[in-house]
């Protein structure tokens, strides 16, 4: 890895987004010998997968593969990595783009050793967006447990510039007056790997996300189950920290729905299967109700599903949840109709999980910088223009498919640098 600065080499590729897809595009191209600029808007690399507790179907921690990718980045001088950085403008054409970028001030410089002395003295708090605001950090914080780079950051909105951290820091690592930095690169191609956001659950009025703490999203469940999450891996109901005695899953929460996301988000069925294993590990007997339209666990995922279907306390009901009713005791009642039997169902549960879909994160942004965006908001890969897309910026997919097409995007970038 090399830090910012220096003239742009010929035929370089700019990778926008440093999640698993962006890191894959960057590394696969760099390991062929291409120069890569990898930018990420967050103060850390890893994107969405950094928030996942485990991958399906192996139930292995994503940080294991990320550790390898981080090592590959650190060891490869062809990759230049910039966090907290976004595109400001793009001019030129295929083989010869000029891109202006802006880095938001981290307010912590490279002297930071991650010693943690600053956190103890910081009087201000902020909602921890990494944990979907289920806990708080100080205004100066480590982005997450396995953050890369392992540098702290200050949330400028929460910081009052009291200067206590500056005093506490022995390494002169805090610069409260750090200014934004703008710089320009010349690249042959641009690969968009800007990933996805969970579909905003508040947009589905009937699912009452904002009306009860007992209604969470599947991404919140990932954080609840994570060892370094807000509950240190215990699955507790937000708000009252109750150990839920029953669970419900609402599949296609926003997906396959013409009022929301028309497409299928690909991963939510498998994510639910995986999260059933999280629950089973902690609550071996708790009843679990899964309301679905179809169980999309094709191919090698069928065996994973089959194991869960045998559990007598896990009930799969074909039927879309029409309504969720918050109850006075903190629980919620899920209302649905069984599509096969016609039976009307009102199922009370202590915790309801919305299997919210994927919404492409950078649709507007990418379109503004010359990328073609399809009717669902995903970025179309255009090799003639050398504007490429990869991972979930390109289509809803699981990690394997995302890394496959990211590897493909790397070859397109290699080809573009020959022009």
């Amino acid at each position: 890895m090399t830090d910012a600065g220096g003239a742009s080499p010929m035929g370089a590729v700019l990778v926008v987004g440093g999640g698993i897809s962006g890191m894959t595009v960057a590394l696969e191209a760099a390991e062929v010998g291409k120069d890569v600029f990898l930018i990420e808007k967050n103060p850390y690399m890893g994107g969405r997968v950094a928030q996942l507790n485990q991958y399906f179907p192996k139930l292995c921690p994503p940080s294991c593969g990320m550790e390898i990718n981080f090592k590959r980045i650190k060891n490869n001088r062809k990759v230049r990595m910039y966090t907290m950085t976004q595109i400001k403008s793009v001019t030129g054409d295929a083989g010869n783009y000029e891109v202006t970028l802006e880095t938001t001030p981290r307010l912590v410089n490279n002297n930071c050793t991650a010693c943690n002395d600053c956190v103890g003295v910081c009087p201000e708090e902020r909602d921890n967006d990494f944990n979907f605001n289920m806990d708080k950090t100080r205004a100066i914080y480590k982005p997450h447990e396995m953050a890369m780079p392992m540098k702290y950051v200050i949330d400028a909105k929460a910081c009052t510039k009291c200067g206590k951290c500056v005093e506490a820091c022995k390494y002169d690592a805090i610069d409260l007056d750090m200014a934004p930095k703008t710089f320009t690169l010349n690249v042959a191609s641009i690969a968009w790997s800007t990933g996805w956001n969970p579909y905003d659950p508040a947009k589905m009025d009937n699912l009452k996300f904002n009306e009860s703490d007992a209604i969470i999203t599947n991404m919140m469940m990932e954080r609840l189950a994570a060892p370094a999450g807000p509950t240190l891996g215990k699955i507790l109901r937000p708000g009252d920290n109750k150990e839920p005695q029953s669970f419900g899953f609402v599949q296609c929460a926003g997906s396959r729905d013409e009022n929301h996301l028309e497409y299928c988000s690909y991963v939510c069925c498998m994510a639910t299967m995986k999260q059933i294993t999280y629950i089973r590990e902690r609550y071996p007997e708790a009843p679990i109700y899964v309301f679905y339209i179809d169980l999309r666990t094709p191919g090698k995922y069928e065996n994973f599903r089959a194991k869960l279907m045998d559990d007598p306390n896990t009930h799969f009901i074909k039927g879309k949840v029409a309504d969720i009713v918050p109850e006075d005791d903190g629980s919620v009642t899920m209302v649905a109709e069984n599509a096969v039997t016609g039976e009307k169902i009102r199922q009370n549960v202590d915790l309801a999980v919305l299997a919210t879909g994927m919404e492409p994160a950078a649709q507007g942004l990418a379109a503004g910088f010359g990328a073609e965006v399809d009717s669902n908001g995903f970025i179309v890969s255009n090799e003639d223009k050398a504007i490429l897309s990869a991972g979930c910026a390109r289509k809803a997919s699981d990690v394997v498919t995302a890394t496959q097409n990211s590897t493909a995007a790397a070859l397109k970038a290699v080809q573009a640098s020959r022009r």
């Binding site: 390991e31 507790n53 292995c60 294991c64 590959r72 490869n76 010693c115 074909k318 097409n405 020959r418």
Partner: protein, 745 residues
């Protein structure tokens, strides 16, 4: 290299508070004969200048006692001509002890960490990359369907010469028989005209691509950069066909004439064919075969006329008109099982939708019935599904199909649990079964490697015959370096996914070739310039390295001595761990180095409380977990001394003996999960290590030492809150056993 050594201790980040720095630097300077200085923040500009000043004076071998080697790599990078080793005095000493820790014990921990790092610097050399005299950058693509055509075209576009081999007379594969193909762009509602003819044309007219039709690969010998490939006429047998692997006991049976020799008429795998063609990398894209579905007797395939597979229906549709009333059965399990047919993935759901369209196109009053358990149209394909739902001649329902039988009306399909009624029967002209796509790798070696470990990909059973990878983050990584599978051999996929997959496989082949050209490793130790070196004069031909290498990097030479193929090697060191003669090592990682580090640990022989436990830990998962434990200020038992290893597979049992004979009281190995859901990045390392540890337990037993003194534990990188207890539990067991009785001898 002529080493000029210098050691440094950083006092920042609490290290200076936890340790008596003067005593530490003094100890290193006197005891280790390497001058040792301290600095308040070695990673700072000033700290680096402090080190650089010594480098100007000729220092080239540097030991830094500071934070973990996982951080501040750039800060402590002083160029490729310097040796730098790091002692972890922060995460795994100062930060994991707590305020109430006994200062004497903490000091001993820090001192041992420094001693080991100084010895490590002493015992390693700068790497010299393995460079082949001559390499070929040409790429071989096996299979001329969509995947192979794509891989060939994309590799050629990147400037590489490609040879594309197809066993049929024409390129195009299965797609030649398609009437229409799935939508690939917004609004994803309309079927598209096949593009296969264009793809074939563009490959055939590409000057960088040589096409060989009616040709198969008899064998692939050699290694990345220097493959030697023998071609043969399709469907023929050749003396150069890759021999099957024959185990020693099987060979005995063959020699006795009890068993037929599977390799009769084939040249040995090591025999070189002078007419073989040179290649640098291989893409395997031999695709799939339609599944036989006659085992599902209730569905009538093979016994009832007009019960056909989806592949057969496509042929009918391509040739002419399809019947007017057709049922498409997606799941064979009736009421008992809601799985799709095997080897389907989500492709067959989409194929049924496509073929339902044919029924409508060909018949003004056509009716198609799609009977599914779960309709699988992921991503944008949902839009195609939605469009189909608007067609009032296509009926879709969840259904458990229980029987297909002949009737006056033609065929009658019986089903239960539908969205309409409980029991429904349906009269149709034809029933189409959603048969799966069997990978060509399922029943044949296909890749035909002339390797000692056999001609096929390993672990095919884990993936039901697919030549797939087990790594979610790294889907192209298999146990055969330089060979990258894509398309139908990897999973049942649609055209769009196949094209992406094949493009990715082409990239990986190119990347492997370029890495070979630079003499560096590919994933997961990408860029590593070291490689295993063998001192063959002392080899006893026991073949453990050859057998245990997860990547089949070793063959035999004509005398039966292991023959390394360094460009197949991934640098895990499993061979080094396997070798009982200890003749295998890397420039910066070898038996002597780790053994000397272990011996550098000071073992008090007069204090029963100061037990010493050695922990050899996987550097990718367990070591970061230990670091994280430190970052979270979890307490790690300070009787334990940690040495990171490339993979547990590289742990040579002599290190265990070194530890026990130097008076240490126990050894614990911390590595990745193994088994069917293995997480080991070198596939077999942790599994092999645990087997070796079982055996050494027995050896210890014969020496009068308790086998319990040696243990292996599986930990994940996220086990940072569990790892202190895992270690403590082991230490408690050792305390229970008491000190090593050989201590002090």
């Amino acid at each position: 290299m002529d080493k000029k050594k210098q050691a440094y201790v950083c006092t920042g980040c609490g290290i200076g508070d936890a340790l008596d720095i003067e005593a530490l630097t003094g100890m290193i300077s006197s005891e280790m004969s390497v001058d040792c200085k301290s600095h308040a923040a070695l990673c700072s500009k000033d700290g680096r200048a402090f080190i650089e000043a010594d480098i100007k004076d000729g220092v080239n071998t540097i030991t830094i006692g500071a934070c973990s080697l996982r951080v501040m790599q750039d800060e402590f990078d002083f160029g490729e001509d310097k040796i730098v080793t790091r002692a972890n005095l922060r995460e795994q000493c100062a930060w994991c002890q707590g305020e109430d820790a006994d200062a004497e014990y903490v000091q001993e921990l820090g001192s041992d960490n420094m001693r080991m790092a100084v010895v490590k610097a002493d015992k390693q050399d700068l790497p010299e990359p393995y460079q082949l005299e001559k390499i070929t950058k040409d790429i071989l693509v096996m299979g001329g369907g969509i995947a192979g055509l794509t891989a060939a075209k994309e590799a050629a576009k990147a400037g590489y010469a490609v040879t594309l081999v197809e066993k049929a007379a024409a390129l195009g594969g299965k797609a030649l028989g398609w009437r229409k193909q799935f939508p690939t762009k917004a609004p994803w509602t309309d079927l598209q005209e096949p593009t296969i003819a264009d793809m074939v044309h563009s490959v055939e007219s590409d000057a960088n691509i040589t096409v060989k039709t009616e040709t198969e690969v008899a064998r692939i010998a050699g290694a990345p950069g220097v493959y030697k490939v023998t071609f043969k006429a399709a469907g023929t047998a050749s003396e150069w066909d890759a021999p099957a692997k024959v185990a020693v006991d099987e060979q005995d049976a063959i020699d006795k004439g009890d068993v037929e020799d599977p390799n009769a008429g084939k040249n040995p795998y090591m025999q070189e064919n002078p007419e073989a063609v040179d290649f640098g990398g291989v893409v395997l894209a031999t695709g799939w075969k339609p599944a036989d579905v006659s085992e599902y007797e209730h569905l009538g395939y093979g016994t009832l006329k007009n019960v056909v597979t989806n592949a057969e229906f496509e042929k009918l549709a391509k040739a002419g008109k399809v019947p007017a009333k057709v049922a498409f059965v997606q799941s064979p399990g009736g009421k008992d099982d809601d799985k799709d047919f095997p080897y389907c993935n989500s492709v067959t759901s989409m194929v049924a939708l496509k073929q339902a369209k044919y029924v409508r196109e060909d018949n003004p009053d056509g009716q198609a019935f799609i009977l599914y358990q779960h309709m699988r149209t992921p991503g944008h394909m949902e839009m195609f599904y939605k469009g189909i739902q608007d067609d009032d001649g296509i009926f879709l329902t969840k259904a458990a199909v229980t029987k297909v039988e002949e009737s006056d009306a033609g065929l009658t399909v019986s089903m239960q649990d539908t969205l309409l009624n409980d029991d429904v029967s349906l009269d149709v002209d034809m029933v189409v079964l959603a048969a799966g796509m069997i990978p060509t790798t399922k029943d044949e070696a296909t890749i035909n490697l002339a390797y000692r470990q056999g001609p096929a990909f390993l672990d095919l059973d884990l993936f039901e015959g697919y030549a797939d990878s087990h790594f979610i983050c790294f889907p192209y990584e298999t146990r055969r370096t330089g060979v990258y599978a894509c398309g139908g051999v990897r999973k049942a996929a649609n055209m769009e996914e196949t094209i992406d997959d094949a493009t990715g496989a082409a990239l990986k082949a190119i990347q492997c070739i370029e890495s070979v050209d630079h003499g560096v490793a590919v994933h997961p130790r990408s860029g590593d310039k070291t490689f295993p070196e063998f001192f063959f004069q002392r080899c006893t031909q026991c073949k453990r390295c050859t057998e245990e290498c997860p990547f089949g990097a070793l063959d035999d030479d004509e005398k039966g001595t292991p023959l390394p193929n360094p460009t197949r090697c991934r640098r895990c060191g499993t061979c080094m761990g396997a070798c009982p003669e200890r003749i295998i090592g890397f420039k910066d990682y070898n038996i002597d180095m780790i053994g000397s580090m272990i011996k550098a640990i000071e073992v008090p022989d007069d204090d029963e409380d100061k037990l010493r436990i050695l922990a050899l830990v996987c550097e990718n998962d367990a070591y970061p977990a230990l670091d994280m434990a430190g970052m979270r200020r979890n307490k790690i038992n300070n009787l334990v001394r940690v040495i990171p290893v490339r993979c547990l597979g590289s742990v040579n049992m002599v290190w265990i003996k070194d530890a026990m004979s130097s008076g240490m009281d126990g050894v614990i190995l911390l590595g990745c999960k193994y088994g069917d859901d293995y997480q080991c990045h070198f596939v077999k390392g942790s599994e092999i290590a645990s087997k070796r540890m079982e055996n050494i337990g027995e050896t210890l037993g014969t020496l009068g030492l308790e086998p319990e003194r040696c243990a292996t534990r599986q930990v994940a990188i996220t086990d940072y809150d569990k790892i202190p207890d895992i270690i403590n539990e082991f230490v408690e067991e050792i305390i229970e056993l008491g000190p090593n009785p050989f201590k002090g001898f």
